[in-house]
């Protein structure tokens, strides 16, 4: 008898995928339990994470917010772990150092205004007019933080206006380079000699100002942010100039830039801070004694701009030489081609490095505690040495480290956002 071949005449109904090949189960099978070894590791890691989390929680969840000293925590039978009272008790100090309490609205306001001033730089869908506020902000911040007469910072700001107007007027008469040189010299002269004289006269006539606050009162996160933000804002333009100098065809400018960059990158920041604290006054005219925080900001800026220059040089070197040649072929002069063609691309390539440098700079502000400034790390040591909180470790360090972490992690996330936004490839 001949076998009839089997021919299916009706379609089978659609079956759901096996349970292990869909959804959570598939994901777990592939990512957690793909082999015996992986399963063991996954389970061990899970157990360790849960245990660590439980220990951490039982340590951290303590009704200790109100205690005013470590011994009070230790005597209280209800408290068996963390003594958070130290954060509550010293919060003001950790934020503002020894800045007078009644004046603390000033750094707070300066911080909020900083966010406003930084916003248009960070997000370019905001109105461009806000940039004017960003330009004025540094002078506003100086007035708010240090106080004193408002005329000094205003006249320094006026120096930029003087230089700009002079340049515009002279540009038609003597040309680009000469106008630039004269404008820069005039501005420098104004800053060196004009500002102090005029400021004295003006503040005699119209004495407007805030209560002056000495730098030695600065401390805590306010000090870190002051140094960090000034360093960041100043080091980027200087770094760009140094990078251009290092790429330049002019032998002397190239040599000076290379020498500066390599010298600064070869020494640790702490030696530069030593220079700021004990040595800088040696190099200034006898009798000058200017603010320690200002000296530190100068040194931190110098340090950061050398690193910034290297990062930007990397970006410049990564551009194909066709871009330079195309800019030349369009008949652009050096500054035009840099501003319109080269820099936008080079800076885009170097964003991760630039933000990495910013993060490093912000972390490095903690080093000022070594030369005796009371930044958060310096305050930890001070608080640990006080009789109320002698012997406290975890709570303080966790708090300070977490504050720094929030700042730096935000910065690194922003850099990723910016990279994605500027990406032109697919």
């Amino acid at each position: 008898m001949k076998m009839e071949p089997f021919v299916r005449t009706e379609m089978l109904s659609e079956q759901p995928a096996p349970l292990g090949e869909t959804g959570v189960l598939k994901w777990m099978r592939e990512n957690l339990f793909s082999s015996i070894l992986n399963s063991i590791i996954s389970i061990l890691a899970l157990v360790a994470i849960i245990l660590a989390f439980m220990v951490l929680m039982s340590w951290a969840m303590q009704p200790s917010w109100a205690s005013t000293s470590l011994s009070q925590c230790q005597d209280d039978p209800a408290i068996t772990g963390a003594c958070w009272g130290v954060i509550n008790n010293r919060f003001n100090q950790l934020m503002f150092g020894f800045y007078p309490r009644v004046e603390q609205w000033r750094p707070t306001l300066a911080f909020i205004l900083m966010l406003v001033a930084v916003a248009p730089v960070l997000f370019n869908n905001l109105p461009r007019k806000m940039m004017w506020f960003s330009v004025v902000y540094p002078f506003l911040a100086v007035i708010l933080l240090w106080g004193g007469t408002i005329w000094g910072p205003l006249l320094v700001l006026a120096g930029f206006a003087i230089g700009f107007i002079l340049f515009k007027v002279l540009f038609g008469i003597v040309g680009n380079l000469a106008a630039m040189l004269i404008a820069v010299f005039a501005t420098l002269l104004w800053w060196l000699y004009g500002v102090s004289m005029v400021a004295e006269v003006l503040s005699g006539i119209i004495p407007i100002g805030l209560e002056p606050i000495e730098s030695s009162k600065f401390g805590g996160f306010m000090l870190s942010i002051t140094i960090g933000v000034s360093g960041i804002a100043l080091s980027l333009p200087i770094g760009i100039m140094l990078a251009l100098g290092r790429q330049s065809d002019m032998f002397i400018i190239k040599t000076l830039s290379v020498g500066f960059i390599e010298l600064i990158r070869g020494v640790p920041l702490i030696t530069l801070l030593f220079v700021a604290s004990v040595l800088l006054n040696f190099f200034l005219p006898p009798g000058t004694d200017f603010d320690l925080i200002l000296r530190v900001i100068i040194m931190v800026t110098i340090f950061a701009s050398a690193y910034m220059a290297e990062v930007i040089r990397g970006g410049l070197a990564a551009l194909p030489s066709g871009q330079y040649e195309a800019a030349d072929a369009l008949g652009l002069d050096y500054w035009q081609s840099m501003r319109l063609i080269i820099m936008p691309q080079a800076l885009k390539i170097s964003i991760p490095g630039i933000v990495g440098n910013f993060i490093g700079l912000f972390k490095d502000t903690t080093l000022v505690s070594i030369i005796g400034l009371l930044d958060p790390v310096g305050l930890i040591v001070t608080i640990q040495g006080s009789s109320d909180w002698n012997g406290i470790v975890w709570e303080l360090f966790l708090f300070v480290a977490m504050m720094f972490w929030i700042f730096t992690f935000t910065m690194s996330r922003y850099s990723m956002y910016l990279e994605n936004k500027l990406k032109t490839t697919h």
Partner: protein, 405 residues
């Protein structure tokens, strides 16, 4: 713009210095040089007049006067009667010691974390990400000071090891003691004849290199592949072990022992050294891990597939195709992390570890008042260390550079 029909120098006018691009760069450079020279002159002039006011002159003779302070963690002989110059040397060696230890540990942690971050196991990869994001984003100074606080506060006192009801115990067959005064570890003692063992060991390392070259040449000539790894391993261990027993075990270990209220014998690693070492390693490891991950991810998948298509086995694909290319990407950032670690080791001053900054830039500076000279020497020493590390990096970069023809 330079006109073709107007050769340079024929009709030179002064204004061409400003407006002619051929001469303008010279003008700019001369102005910059003059400004720079004036700046240096101004700074030095101020310095001399300031020093005159203080009645001092730049003077390095303080280097040969007795230092007058003690350094407890040291690699070479030093007493408080030794000179400041000697203290400088002790500091330099301490800096190099912590940098060396740190680089090794940071590489081990960093490479493992970086590889594990690429693991297929989701939890492991996430845990490593958490590690990297935590340590990369916290100031290293906080980690150092924190580690120091923990070592002082949470490790047992030496007296806890005493008596029958000891609350603490030593590790690794009673050879390592972790106390709040630091770690006590065994110290190797070299007796007569130990030199021969050491020399044999060094010779066998040389032998490994020679064997490697010979095996390669042989493979290229005949096509035979020797099991080089096992033979090299044997050359590494066997001769030294054999000679060690022939010479009658001349190298021994001095164990730390509890004498009175403290440990005696062995090597005493102070808290400051350990906290600095661990903190720097953990911090730098996070950066190294990122470099390793980036290096491995930079290798195109097509490379692995092409190697497989050529018939190479997976192990050889890794050794001959992937690793050589990945290392080219990994090593430059790795070395610059070593450089960063070395420079960050200057934070030792925060925990009282007597490195360069602690001796020359710290106590010597404060006791002699020679700020200018001390800081100058300090910077020059760091500069020399940094430049030698970057020189190594440049040599390496040139040797692995893609040869474009």
């Amino acid at each position: 713009m330079a006109m073709a029909d107007q050769p340079a120098g024929k009709s030179f006018r002064l204004s061409m210095l400003l407006y002619d691009t051929r001469y303008r760069s010279i003008t700019i450079q001369v102005i910059m040089l003059a400004l720079f020279a004036y700046g240096v002159y101004w700074l030095l002039g101020n310095m001399y007049s300031n020093l005159d006011d203080l009645g001092k002159k730049p003077d390095f003779s303080f280097l040969s006067t007795p230092a007058g302070y003690d350094i407890n963690q040291r690699l070479i002989e030093y007493t408080s009667q030794s000179t400041n110059g000697r203290a400088w040397l002790v500091g330099l060696l301490n800096t190099l010691l912590v940098a060396f230890l740190g680089c090794i540990l940071a590489t081990i942690i960093g490479v493992s974390v970086g590889v594990m971050r690429l693991s297929k196991n989701w939890i492991v990869a996430r845990l490593m990400t958490v590690y990297i994001e935590i340590f990369r984003n916290i100031p290293v100074l906080i980690i150092i000071v924190f580690a120091m606080s923990i070592f002082i506060k949470f490790f047992p006192q030496p007296k806890a090891f005493r008596g029958d009801d000891a609350t603490a115990s030593m590790y690794l067959w009673d050879s390592v003691a972790l106390t709040n005064r630091g770690w006590y570890i065994p110290k190797p003692i070299f007796e007569n004849g130990s030199m021969i063992v050491v020399v044999t060991f060094l010779l066998s390392i040389l032998g490994i290199f020679i064997f490697g070259k010979w095996a390669k040449k042989r493979q290229e000539a005949t096509g035979d592949i020797l099991p080089t790894f096992w033979i090299k391993l044997a050359i590494f261990f066997l001769p030294a072990v054999v000679v060690y027993f022939i010479m009658g075990q001349p190298i021994g270990l001095e164990q730390p022992e509890l004498k009175g209220f403290n440990f005696k014998g062995g090597i005493h690693m102070r808290n400051s050294l350990i906290s600095l070492w661990l903190a720097l390693s953990l911090y730098t490891a996070a950066f190294i891990a990122e470099a390793v991950r980036a290096g491995i991810m930079a290798i195109d998948k097509g490379q692995t597939e092409a190697a497989a298509a050529l018939g190479l086995r997976p192990k050889r694909v890794m050794n001959l195709v992937v690793l050589p290319q990945a290392l080219r990407v990994i090593i430059p950032p790795l070395i610059s992390q070593y450089l960063n670690l070395t420079k960050n080791s200057s934070l030792a001053i925060a925990v009282g570890y007597m490195d360069l900054t602690g001796t020359l830039g710290g106590i010597t500076l404060n006791q002699t008042g020679r700020a200018l000279e001390s800081i100058l020497l300090l910077m020059i020493t760091y500069l020399a260390i940094s430049l030698s590390i970057s020189m190594v990096m440049n040599v390496y970069n040139n040797s692995v550079k893609l040869k474009e023809r």
